[in-house]
């Protein structure tokens, strides 16, 4: 009977310069740990003989070359093997420069890294680049292998020289190699067996080195962070779901939600199929909880204990790697995601651009090109709950999106930025809780319907005003109190002091959101028809009256809207007569998760009007539902 194995798989990423022998190392390691299928080696031998080339261990990995792929269990991306101590999954990282994104995808999920360096060539461009990425990804467990010792006659001095060179570079970026092992992957020396050629080396073999690494354990000792992934409602229960990222969450705990500053007590931790009385869950677990109070909570909010709150800020720094052909530039807008939060940010400054080769730093660079590394300052429209990476390595890292694509990522730091929580007064209590003696139900009883906000958003010319007018007429004709808020009745009075700069647009929408909330609370069905181009602004309007708010996307593409151009505005924008016109020289952000989409391109007006009317009717009806609460999923 073999000794008891460690229970968790260790993820290992293999990185290094092209042709320094990563694939050979993996092929040989699989063979030497008896992890290849029967006949695999004979198969490769036959292929090599047929092609008249010497036997190649790296062929083991070449899954896409079909003639060497016969329904195998291995691949260049994820390969499973076992030592006597534990199971491993190797995440191979191709060394070509343009494959940096694959390397990052691989290294980001690994527990440990093997950096392969050619004994004859020493540290090269990608050795440095990959090492720097490991540093940026927070990798702590690193084994350096000095490969191809056979090419330098297994000479200890060559090993020493290259080791020193590696240590010097790693040290300069704050990394330390846990082990440096001389190997000859082709012959199998010092992988799982010591071999006969490197007797002067007394340290661990590569496999022994890997066996001594730990699987990253869940950070239960850190302050609790429970980012809300979704809110489900069924029967009488409202369940908040998500993964506990750090710390421990117990039944009976008082949770504090950011950024809303709401508080509630955990009344249950849900489970299925057995409704066990779970009293405690911890970092790494995907869970569901119920609360004592119906506080407003939605995806992206972060629950913590009352002590050790995350910071709140609308500006933060990040050390990032950039993967897109389109350079990152000051002033550009991107989406960042971390945990379950998502925010639109613009680049305020590029503070330093780092050259991974000589570690030279360029201050105030104009842009960050593809595959470069930089420190940047990002500004969001709203305050966000933020944990710097040094405090929380799960939530302190962001992925950056441009449109549909992942374009970069990095680690958050808040050095020099104050926590803005104190200046952010909890206004929620005054708004969400009914302090009137007249309840919404009483109002609805008198009016025959509930209030609500039906927020149309879409490009100029998408049909918002046309639809609003027609819908108002129809709903009013059915005896309901509906009122359209649009530019005409707002811009001339309430918002007469505002222009069309991004800041003024944001303020414009903020005020309209507040007015709509007051009206809806008074029992009015509010239909608003504003371009409202920014998701954050619409989200804020939602926050003013979350249980009333419905985001309706009036959808038509730019070409269609420009073709319609009912007010001749696009023409003026194109000629430069109007500046910062949405869709032309100012962005429009389509709703991320609208409550209703009305396609005015594919449907005639009558169809669209009916769609909205039906939707409103269903949502203001008395008796059927107590009006909508947050963005929750009703599960049957």
């Amino acid at each position: 009977m073999t000794k008891k194995k460690l229970s968790q798989k260790l993820g290992v990423v293999i990185v290094g310069h092209v042709d320094h022998g990563k694939s050979t190392l993996i092929g040989r390691l699989l063979n030497d740990t008896n992890s290849l299928e029967d006949g695999k080696i004979d198969e490769i031998k036959a292929v090599c003989e047929r092609r008249n080339v010497p036997f190649e261990w790296s062929f083991v990995l070449d899954a896409f070359q079909a003639e060497r792929d016969q329904a195998v269990t291995i691949d260049t991306t994820q390969i499973f093997f076992s030592s006597s101590a534990r199971d491993y999954v190797i995440i191979d990282a191709p060394g070509h420069r343009e494959f940096l994104k694959n390397m990052i995808s691989g290294a980001a999920q690994a527990d440990a890294a093997v950096l392969v360096v050619d004994a004859a060539e020493g540290v090269r461009e990608q050795t440095r680049r990959h090492a720097y990425m490991l540093h940026l990804l927070g990798m702590k467990q690193i084994a350096v292998v000095i490969n191809k010792m056979d090419k330098v006659d297994y000479n200890p001095e060559s090993f020493e020289a290259v080791s020193k060179e590696c240590e010097a570079y790693l040290g300069s970026i704050g990394l330390q190699a846990t082990f440096i092992v001389p190997i000859a992957a082709r012959g199998g020396d010092m992988l799982s067996d010591r071999g006969d050629n490197l007797d002067w080396y007394k340290g661990k073999t590569l496999l022994e080195a890997l066996d001594s690494f730990d699987v990253s354990s869940p950070p239960i000792a850190k302050p609790l962070r429970f980012p809300i992934q979704d809110v489900y409602r069924f029967e009488e229960k409202r369940i908040l779901v998500g993964r506990v990222e750090t710390g421990i969450l117990r039944k009976g705990d008082t949770l504090f939600f950011s950024p809303t500053n709401e508080k509630a007590v955990v009344t249950s931790i849900e489970s299925w199929p057995d409704n066990d009385q779970i009293v405690e869950v911890q970092a790494g677990q995907s869970v569901g909880i119920t609360l004592s109070e119906p506080v407003f909570v939605e995806r992206g909010h972060v629950a913590s204990h009352e002590q050790n709150l995350p910071m709140l800020s609308n500006v933060f720094q990040a050390n990032i790697f950039w993967l897109s052909e389109k350079a990152l530039k000051v002033g550009n807008t991107y989406t960042v995601r971390y945990g379950t939060s998502e925010a639109r940010v613009s680049v305020q400054s590029i503070d330093t651009l780092v050259d991974t080769q000589d570690l030279g730093k360029q201050d105030a660079a104009p842009e960050v090109p593809k595959n470069a590394v930089a420190e940047v300052t990002l500004r969001a429209r709203d305050t966000l709950p933020i944990d710097p990476h040094k405090d929380n390595d799960k939530l302190g890292r962001v992925v950056i999106y441009d449109g549909y694509d992942v374009v970069g990522g990095g680690l958050l730091n808040m050095d020099g930025y104050p926590d803005q929580r104190s200046s952010d007064t909890p206004k929620s209590e005054n708004i969400y809780k009914v302090s009137h003696s007249v309840t919404p139900e009483m109002r609805a009883g008198m009016l025959g319907h509930y209030g609500g906000i039906f927020w149309l958003t879409g490009l100029s010319g998408s049909g918002k005003s046309t639809l609003a007018v027609a819908v108002e007429k129809e709903i009013f004709a059915r005896g309901k109190n509906i009122y359209v808020l649009d530019g005409d009745n707002v811009r001339h009075g309430l918002n007469a002091d505002l222009g069309f700069s991004p800041e003024d647009r944001t303020e414009n929408i903020r005020r309209i959101g507040e007015v709509a909330a007051l009206q809806a609370n008074a029992g009015v069905i509010v239909l608003s028809a504003f371009i409202s181009p920014y998701q954050q602004d619409r989200d804020r309007a939602r926050m003013a009256a979350p249980h009333h708010f419905h985001e309706i996307y009036v959808k038509a593409d730019l070409a269609t809207c420009e073709g319609r151009d009912p007010k001749g505005l696009y023409k003026k924008a194109r000629s430069g007569e109007i500046k910062e016109f949405t869709g032309i020289d100012s962005p429009y952000e389509p709703p991320v998760n609208p409550d209703l989409v009305v396609d005015t391109e594919g449907n005639d007006i009558e169809t669209c009007v009916k769609q909205i009317v039906d939707y409103i009717e269903a949502n203001v009806q008395v008796g059927k539902i107590e009006s909508k609460e947050e963005k929750i999923r009703v599960l049957k």
Binding site: S7, Q8, K9, L36, E37, D38, A63, F64, A66, E67, D69, Q70, A71, V72, T73, I74, D75, T76, T77, Q78, I79, F80, K101, N102, I104, S105, A108, Q109, Q229, D230, Y232, F234, I239, V241, G242, R243, E270, S271, W272, P273, G284, Q285, S286, G288, R299, L323, R337, Y338, R397, V399, Y401, Y404, D405, V406, G409, V592, N593, R633, L635, K636
Partner: protein, 265 residues
């Protein structure tokens, strides 16, 4: 081991909930086999016993009788919403393909007609990285063009559990919640959770099915493993591949690659 299974489960549930939060409308492919049935169990865990999206069997009419029986049994017992989607007939497939590949192509085409009919933006699939070399290349959220084709040479980066969840009109995404599981993991989890299974997996007369496919292109393998315990023991000692009984994977050298790049699961 139980900690390991807990970790796998937590990650899968996170992925399933992430898909549900981000992608609408979506569906899950339920082939009735061990993997997608274990995945269905994970879905029920994620939603506390509910399955908040339809399940789809891409039906060629050629599944084994026991598979249909098992589908009917679970559909009733678990009160499932199952779309039994008929795949286009074999005559409609590219006749230059070898026979088993052609049979498998029916599922690819069935998936296309399913997407056209139901406009699903996301499809949850129970594939695993350790099954086959090409599947190992997959992302957890894997975008496809409308015709289902997969550009495995230029996949989006994916890291830190942040997935690509938004796509241009006309694309869909395959979601792979059990990509990180191995065959043995599935069996150990099935055993621990006591998840029901089709009998064909258990040996009768010295043969059992290790992987279930259509009756014309799937063969049982020699085995005496008649319960899960024995299957786990068998897997921990064998070195033959799971899909050894699946003809379509290896009719020609790159038949599976061809199938997948055209949209096969």
């Amino acid at each position: 081991m139980t900690q390991h299974l807990d970790d796998l489960e937590a990650r899968s549930i996170y992925i399933i909930r992430e898909a549900y939060a981000r992608i609408n409308p979506m569906a899950m492919l339920w082939s009735i086999g061990k993997d997608s049935t274990a995945m269905l169990w994970l879905v029920r865990k994620a939603f506390f016993g509910r399955v908040p999206f339809p399940l789809v069997l891409l039906d060629t009419g050629m599944e084994m009788d026991e598979v249909y029986d098992f589908r009917d049994r679970l559909t009733k017992e678990w009160d499932l919403d199952v779309i039994n989607h008929m795949c286009p007939p074999e005559e409609d497939m590219d006749q230059t393909l070898p026979p088993a590949t052609r049979a498998a192509m029916r599922k690819t085409e069935g998936l296309k007609t399913l997407l056209e009919e139901h406009k699903f933006k996301g499809v949850v699939c129970g594939i695993r990285r350790d099954e086959q070399g090409l599947r190992a290349k997959e992302r957890v959220f894997s975008p496809r063009s409308l015709d289902g084709s997969w550009d495995f040479k230029d996949q989006p980066p994916e890291f830190w559990d942040q997935y690509k969840t938004e796509f241009p009109e006309g694309c869909h995404v395959r979601i792979h919640p059990i990509l990180h599981w191995t065959e043995v993991d599935i069996w150990k989890y099935t055993q621990r959770e006591n998840i029901p299974l089709c009998d064909l997996y258990f040996a009768r007369d010295g043969m059992r099915y290790r992987s279930l496919g259509e009756k014309n292109i799937t063969k049982p393998v020699p085995s005496n493993a008649s319960n899960i315990e024995e299957i786990i023991h068998e897997l921990e000692t064998t070195k033959t591949s799971e899909r050894a009984g699946r003809a379509m994977d290896k009719e020609t050298e790159n038949s599976f690659e061809k199938l997948r790049s055209q949209g096969y699961m």
